[in-house]
Amino acid sequence: MTAVANPVAIRGLGTVLNGKTIFDGIDLDIPSGSVTAIMGPSGTGKTTLLRHVTGQLPFDSGSIQVFGQSVQDMALPDLYRLRRRMGMLFQHGALLTDLSVFDNVAFPLRENTDLPESLIRTLVLMKLQSVGLRGAAGLMPAQLSGGMARRVALARAIALDPELIFYDEPFVGLDPIAVAAVVELIRTLNQTLGITSVVVAHEIEHLRRVADRLIVLSGGKVIAKGPIDEVLANPQPMVRQFLGGLSDGPVPFHYPAPPLATEFGLGGVR
């Protein structure tokens, strides 16, 4: 397998869902070995973007190349082959509830390889050790806290040693200790295994600790991208509003609506 400079390259991506334009010709690259954060207001399509990149959701125009291969129009067996090089941490872990922690991590290995059970056991315990949960191997998902479930899901996501990993809102609903653990894990996995990482999140203070690069999406476009410190210093009003957490600005507080006076039948009152 040849290494590519940008494991993910998006050109002119356009998506319309239910009559609403989600992406309007966006271009972006995810450099190899980087931790790239993607931010943007709620409903701006961050998770949709991940679903496009992983081939789970078709798009209307443009192209997405993952490891130099076009994901659109890819046959399912080819897509599955490509996905074996990727991992994904879902927002709430998405652990298989009828399998134990051990079996959840073993799942992709058992289904995608012909490794003997003894080797699978060793690999699973190593992955669980890396997220600090070797001792929880026998527990069921219902017995785990939110943070533990997220860490088990991370162990499962790296079970096949992916080259590219996506984190969808990895900090949501976690207590500060669990957040610190997840931040540390993302950084460690990136540095020790060289995994290219894409993190979709809102929490700037956590992303500062983990990301090298930042992409800000709004209104279907990329409004800022580059090294994280440069983007955080970007003077554009929309970027400032988002990063500063201001409720009103270029992104309005109010959803588009007729004037209040018209709504209340007070024609002459302004």
Binding site: Y80, R81, R83, R84, F90, A94, L96, E111, R156
Partner: protein, 256 residues
């Protein structure tokens, strides 16, 4: 929109969903050979879908038989024909009641469970997670449930018949005093193994395919919300009941 327009749109949507279900069936059938390599998954589903439905099937079968014994005895004794009770009970059960009633009960017990389970897996992103791990959920989740439901249905139909025959014996022979020998001999003498018993089992097999397909399809295509799963589960019961009764008519017409 006009009434005609509404009807046309509904009809088009129905045809579209029917086509989607046909394609889905094709994907399931293609996935079954690979899925069988994980044999334990199939055994587990057969236990959950088949064995766990035994209680409702056995209890219902017994009560249906008890009622048949009472009703037939009362009606037949008016014409001095109570000796035909065994024949009438067996034929109505094997040909009609067992496959249909067992199928309706099965769709309520196992069909809804299948839809709700797959729908919840969809809403908690477990299906999506499998796809991301390059595991085909049709192979891992859908095919074992489809096969288990298809195989369980004829077996449950036979169990239902057995318990109903016992129930009818209980009420007609042990309670109302019909001769035991007449009850069994009339049954043995007039029931044909192939055209009566096997025809009923064949019906149950077809109903099993229908219920299994509807249940897995509704679960797999459910909206990933609590409301979506609830709607899908309700649709499974309604669509299964209509499909079973409609196909019962078609099969009866062909098998008679």
């Amino acid at each position: 929109m006009s009434l005609f327009g509404d009807l046309t749109a509904s009809l088009m949507d129905f045809i579209r969903r029917l086509g989607a279900m046909g394609l889905f069936l094709g994907r399931i059938l293609a996935a079954i050979p690979v899925s069988l390599r994980r044999f334990r998954l199939h055994v587990r589903q057969l236990w959950f879908i088949g064995a766990m439905s035994l209680t409702i099937i056995m209890v219902s079968g017994l009560f249906v038989g008890l009622v048949l014994g009472l009703q037939y005895y009362t009606a037949l004794s008016q014409f001095g024909a109570s000796g035909a009770l065994g024949t009438l009970t067996a034929l109505s059960l094997y040909r009609e009641l067992s496959p249909v009633v067992a199928a309706l009960l099965f769709s309520g017990r196992a069909g809804t469970a299948i839809t709700a389970e797959i729908g919840l897996m969809r809403s908690t992103q477990q299906i999506e997670a499998m796809e991301m791990m390059a595991v085909d959920p049709i192979r891992y989740v859908v095919a074992p449930r489809f096969l288990a439901a298809t195989l369980a249905m004829p077996l449950l139909c036979v169990v239902f018949s057995a318990l109903a025959i016992m129930g009818a014996h209980w009420s007609a022979v042990l309670w109302l005093g019909l001769d035991n020998g007449i009850y069994w001999s009339s049954m043995v003498g007039s029931v044909d193994f192939a055209s009566d018993l096997l025809a009923g089992v064949f019906k149950a097999l077809v109903f099993g395919v229908l219920i299994a397909l509807i249940a897995v399809f509704q679960g797999f295509t459910a909206q990933p919300t609590g409301e979506g799963v609830a709607y899908a589960t309700t649709r499974t019961v309604i669509h299964s009941a209509i499909a079973v009764l409609a196909f019962d008519f078609i099969l009866t017409a062909f098998l008679m």
